[in-house]
Subunit: 348 residues, 2 copies
């Protein structure tokens, strides 16, 4: 391809600032090959909602579908009722575009001080299911605001949905050195969903006999992420557990400023979406304090997904080198300076 | 009271070993006042299930109800299908006896090395809802074992259930020095349940104007438990989030060997139940390696619940002193030795 058509959703808060630096790294990575990045910006998020009441229209979706990939900054603003943008925009993108693999690598880069006293080597990836579980929006509320109110949230899990993400996780594990897969769930309490996940892992393991597996309850997983994160290679888990564990995983590897994610549609029936794990951080928006590293690493995942393994590696290496230098330097850089330095290394 | 009638459920694995030491501390604490502890042992858990197919009969429940409190070791064994004992016994006790406050204090004792590099002072308590949420057993599965399988898990939340636990959490916060309450949920995704929890915290706050509150999404809470656990005073949260966060909380304060819990029925319509957070650990059962400290601390919570504040404080102080000495001693003690040392300190 001599051109990549990219849908850009800057979103809210610091979203625009980090996306700008992500694009810089992307362009730097693709320049040598002559590949052009053609971006289309989509005005989605709090501003649009306040102005029009719209979160994501069918027309928006139709236009987004025409692109090779989506780069997303961050969604959410305190001026909008909680859930409106998260469910009406961010989750709607993930669900409608069938991003059933939410890929979140965790790596403790050299030079990063972990809040753990003895972190050991940390290099695992969480394959979080992205289109089912408690995120489906099933459930509801009755007699709201009265003493008789009942509110339910339904976690929906299907063999179809669990099997495809488990197979993807096995395939990733098979590509890695340690070839180990940990299923995280809570099957001693959530017996129906838990047993479906467990049976599926057992069944799909037959296709990947070289991959070893184990199982942890989600509560125990938070313990091991604290005491022995080195034990993890690939984690596969549901939408909500994945949400929780990947924030904890970000914390132990230096914070959400460094945590990348990819919302992948492995069947390529729609564009995949790349975004930092962090949110819109309205408190620091416009101050230049946002760390664009997570977004730049997400651009690395984007390049990988588009079959640009070399360029992806260049971005990843540039980030690693930049981070390594942070440990030895006392200078405080703003968002744009970090982005410029990393882009220069990518070009480099 | 010159007598405490205690139902003892040793349960599985290391349950019996830790309960024995818990009872020792209890007796030592009550001896000075002349209060007798009369125990009734209930044969519940894997052995009973294998022998009879029973987990917890109506008759068991009726007999347990006759007691002032329950001391429980641990439930669960790999020889029993996952969920059978957890739901049919442990959760059945919590639900039937209306243990709607699952109280889990987290404190970094002097002398304990936290896996966090810079833990700061850690002294908070999680008030985990115990009778609702995703733990109700609502949900089910359709077409099990076929490619068309659907499995659901329903989180049920009622104004009745949320309000009573939130009020309890506020009352506890009001008794503490910092008087701060953090609600943990995920209201940007689980909007129905989340908004019920949020509205309830706002409403009940009017009864406790001296308590300050804030809110964290559960994913963000795992970050702060890693980077700044000192910020927490009282956390109130649902059954599943509470399960997850209290294991992480145990990890940062030295492990589940030290983590106590109380399943409280604040209305005293049935006995409350005291148990360590850890499980049955079948791998170390019978080796003397189990740390009884969590159970002994749970006995402290039991004494507190029965209005024995001085005796509770004595147990807590004895444990603190024992733990402080662990840091300076190189001797490895077994379960019974730790229990004996703490009981001796309690006896004073
Ligand atoms: C903003 C929110 C809806 C989202 C999620 O829960 O998935 C975020 O926490 C994430 O992890 O990407
Ligand atoms: C054993 C299991 C059912 C239980 C729970 O999930 O509540 C345990 O993890 C706990 O925290 O007490």
């Amino acid at each position: 391809d001599q051109q990549i058509d990219l849908a850009v959703v800057a979103g809210d808060g610091i979203g625009g600032e980090v996306v700008e630096q992500g694009l810089r790294a992307l362009e730097a990575a693709l320049a040598p090959s002559g590949t052009k990045v053609v971006t289309t910006e989509f005005d989605l998020g709090a501003r649009r909602w306040h102005a029009t009441g719209e979160t994501l229209t069918d027309e928006d979706l139709e236009r987004i579908r025409q692109h090779d990939a989506i780069l997303l900054g961050a969604i959410g603003d305190p001026s909008v009722p909680s859930g409106v943008l998260e469910r009406g925009l961010l989750l709607k993108l993930r669900f409608t575009l069938d991003h059933y693999v939410n890929l979140r690598p965790s790596r403790l880069f050299e030079g990063v001080t972990s809040p753990l006293a003895d972190p050991g080597e940390i290099d695992f990836v969480v394959v979080r299911e992205g289109t089912e579980g408690p995120y489906t929006g099933n459930g509801g509320a009755l007699r709201v605001g009265t003493p008789a109110e009942v509110a339910t949230e339904v976690s929906v899990n299907t063999a179809f949905g669990v099997e495809r993400v488990v197979r993807d996780a096995f395939a990733r594990a098979a590509q890695r050195e340690r070839k180990h897969l940990t299923l995280v769930h809570k099957h001693n309490v959530l017996v129906h969903a838990g047993h479906l996940w467990r049976r599926t892992v057992e069944a799909v393991n037959a296709e990947f006999p070289e991959v070893t597996t184990d199982y942890l309850h989600v509560d125990a997983a938070t313990i091991f992420l604290t005491t022995n994160p080195s034990r993890f290679d690939v984690i596969v888990t549901d939408n909500l557990f994945g949400d929780i564990l990947t924030d904890q995983a970000a914390a132990i590897t230096g914070g959400i400023g460094l945590a990348a994610s990819a919302n992948i549609n492995p069947d390529r029936t729609a564009p995949s979406m790349f975004e930092p794990v962090h949110g819109s951080a309205p408190d620091i928006a416009g101050t230049g304090k946002a760390d664009p590293t997570a977004t730049i690493l997400s651009v690395g995942l984007l390049l990988d997904h588009l079959g640009r393994a070399d360029e992806a590696a260049a971005v990843q290496a540039a980030v690693a080198a930049d981070i390594a230098e942070r440990a030895t330097s006392s200078s405080v850089r703003n968002t744009a300076q970090i982005g410029a330095d990393i882009a220069a290394r990518v070009a480099g």
